[in-house]
């Protein structure tokens, strides 16, 4: 069944179509590698799935037509990602960058720029990355120092970013730069869209503790960036970053929930009898239900066009709690595999357990989320 632009795709027919496509194309979509695979293999797999999905149309639903989409509600994207992760076709981490960065481009790039480049991201032709953190700037994003200087024929960017996920694969980067004085804090930041093959950029991959080396240090040495690559207004990059955060906590979190559900299924099937107590299993499953119920409501709110705001910090706290709870349970139930095992399945559990420790760090740490909840939802005033 080929999807056509003229349809107004409702979730139910979309679901049927996607499920049918996934069944039919099972072999073509399956990873070429066994198990988790290397990051190179994961990235190649993601590109393949996006290309096949784009050609069949499924990947284009839920995105506006002006960027190569077929229109329809974003809830269609939530379902597609759920179906792909639930079948172990893609890893939710690598898949999530599209959900985070495409909306930013759609919201803030010049329309021609978005129209020409977003389709490449959706189709899997390109990987993009997000350059926010710096050696001196983690949680306190407003302190960033990577500088963009205005010249007659464009910006010149110099500085350093760190922990930039997938930078070593990326063709483009959404980069936050300092354009005001250092004291201007969040008022003097500008977002730029950068070609990663520009002269002056050096990418140095870092090793991670879970063995999937996803992020890099990136050095910018007098890199030329045309003015038309400015996202949003000059000195208003903060609102670009803030606008992007709720996206980080909506569709891609729903995908993460589907992945965690899948992991718990695997765990229940594999755990030796007697290794886990009923109470600990029950509690972890309830925590996962709680996150999925919350995130499900967020998907419907987004589909209804409601603005997403600080309340998505609750979703983020719940997903991080659920992810760590699921993998704590796995590490307890499959201690032999996680601690000693050296076969592919064991290495995968170990790597994913270790990766789950980052869930309370990236995308705004657990503490930063609680700060947001206290200030903006509970209205406890400024904390200083």
């Amino acid at each position: 069944m080929a999807s056509s632009r003229d349809d107004v795709m409702e979730l139910d027919s979309f679901r049927k179509g996607v499920d049918h496509w996934l069944d039919e194309q099972e072999d073509a979509l399956a990873p070429d590698h066994p198990g988790l695979g290397t990051l190179d293999q994961q990235m190649a797999q993601l590109a393949k799935v996006k290309r096949l999905g784009y050609e069949a149309g499924w990947v284009r639903w839920g995105w506006p037509e002006r960027v190569g989409g077929l229109g329809g509600s974003p809830i269609l994207r939530a379902y597609l990602g759920e179906a792909l992760t639930a079948r172990d076709v893609v890893e939710p981490g690598v898949y999530s960058m599209t959900e985070v960065l495409a909306p930013t481009m759609i919201g803030f790039a010049r329309p021609e720029l978005a129209a020409s480049l977003v389709p490449r991201l959706l189709r899997g032709d390109e990987t993009w990355c997000q350059g926010f953190s710096e050696p001196g700037t983690g949680s306190n994003l407003a302190s960033l120092t990577c500088r963009a200087t205005r010249t007659d024929d464009g910006w010149r960017v110099s500085g350093q970013k760190v922990w930039t996920s997938y930078a070593q694969y990326a063709a483009r980067c959404v980069l936050l730069t300092r354009t005001g004085s250092q004291e201007s804090a969040h008022r003097g930041i500008t977002a730029l869209f950068i070609d990663m093959d520009s002269p002056g950029i050096t990418v140095r991959p870092l090793q991670t503790m879970h063995g999937v080396d996803e992020f890099s240090e990136v050095f910018y040495d007098d890199v030329a960036v045309p003015f038309e690559r400015t996202l949003g207004e000059v000195d208003k990059g903060w609102s670009v970053a803030m606008d992007l955060l709720p996206y980080e906590r909506s569709t891609s979190l729903w995908h993460k929930g589907a992945y965690l559900h899948r992991k718990l299924e695997h765990l229940l099937a594999a755990v030796p009898a007697g290794a886990l107590s009923p109470a600990e299993v029950g509690e972890v499953v309830q925590i996962l239900y709680a996150f999925r119920a919350r995130s499900r409501a967020t998907q419907y709110r987004m589909a209804a066009g409601d603005p997403l705001g600080p309340e998505t910090s609750v979703d983020k706290v719940l997903v991080a709690t659920a992810e760590q709870a699921v993998f704590d349970l796995a590490a307890a139930g499959l201690a032999g595999e996680v601690v000693l095992g050296d076969d592919g399945a064991s290495r995968r559990w170990r790597s994913e357990f270790l990766y789950s420790r980052a869930a309370t760090i990236y995308g705004g740490s657990a503490e930063i989320q609680r700060n947001i909840i206290a200030r903006r939802i509970l209205d406890l005033g400024d904390d200083r």
Partner: protein, 324 residues
Amino acid sequence: MIEGHDLELFERSIRQATERHTGAALDAALIELGWQDALAVDRRAAVSVLFALQGSANVTSSALATVVAAGLGLESPAEHGVILPGLGSWAPPAELAGDQLTVGGLGAADLDRRETVLVVAKDPGASGTTLAVTVERSALAVGPVGGLDPALAIAEVSGNGIPFRPIAGEATRGWPEAVALAQMAVAHELIGAARTMLELARDHANNRIQFGQPIGKFQAVRHRLAEALVAIEAADGVLDAAWDIPSPELAAAAKALAGRGARTTARHCQQVLAGIGFTAEHPFHRYFRRILVLDQLFGSARSLTDDLGTRLLASRQLPALLTL
């Protein structure tokens, strides 16, 4: 369906009733406001609005008995009192062997005002089936009322070999439906109580000055209250989903999360309220008492969680709940 403006009016009138009345007076007000009619028309609106507000205002009514009877499919659910399962349990509160009815469960304050009481009994003869009967209130032995939350007036109820009448002419649905509906009602009440505890602590954090500033400026205090809100929203999210996608698993999970979430909320709020919250004149303790008792009705966080885990470990399958 009660929607839009009607829902607002309905909610406002129930709010006024719960702010002014409790016990028999609240029951009377609910009759006047047509809450029982609302229950027949729109279960979700009637249950969620009343129980959340009842929890918020720390008042009592006999609505839980009505909800159980409505869950069983009775045509006039407010007619009788209802025997609730024992502490932490959701099993039918009676057993029927031959023509011998043995009752062992809990009763609430409204029992005193009833002449007949609805009892759901296990029928050991036919495995898994239950039978709904009525008994005379006077035939039951009711234990002393007091304990942790005297205002709720939960008491142990028992009876051995007492006369009963099967409920004739009414197609009664099963006990599991009644349990699920009751779990959702009590979960709303727990969440309502937890939200009020959080509101009390939040106000206190904004107004109490120590070290020259409101204590709500201290991050340790802020994070405790944020933690409470997350626990409340976690339970409320599953409860909403249980209305959207009716399933006994979601109702039980919502009840467990509400019980645990209310305890988490109480722990953090009590710490923030500190000395003033430890006095009998501050309302906090009444909410704390209430949630500890409500946690025990129709399965506690502990017993429901244990049961869920036991079933999952036995089946080794995770039900595909909460799809889009």
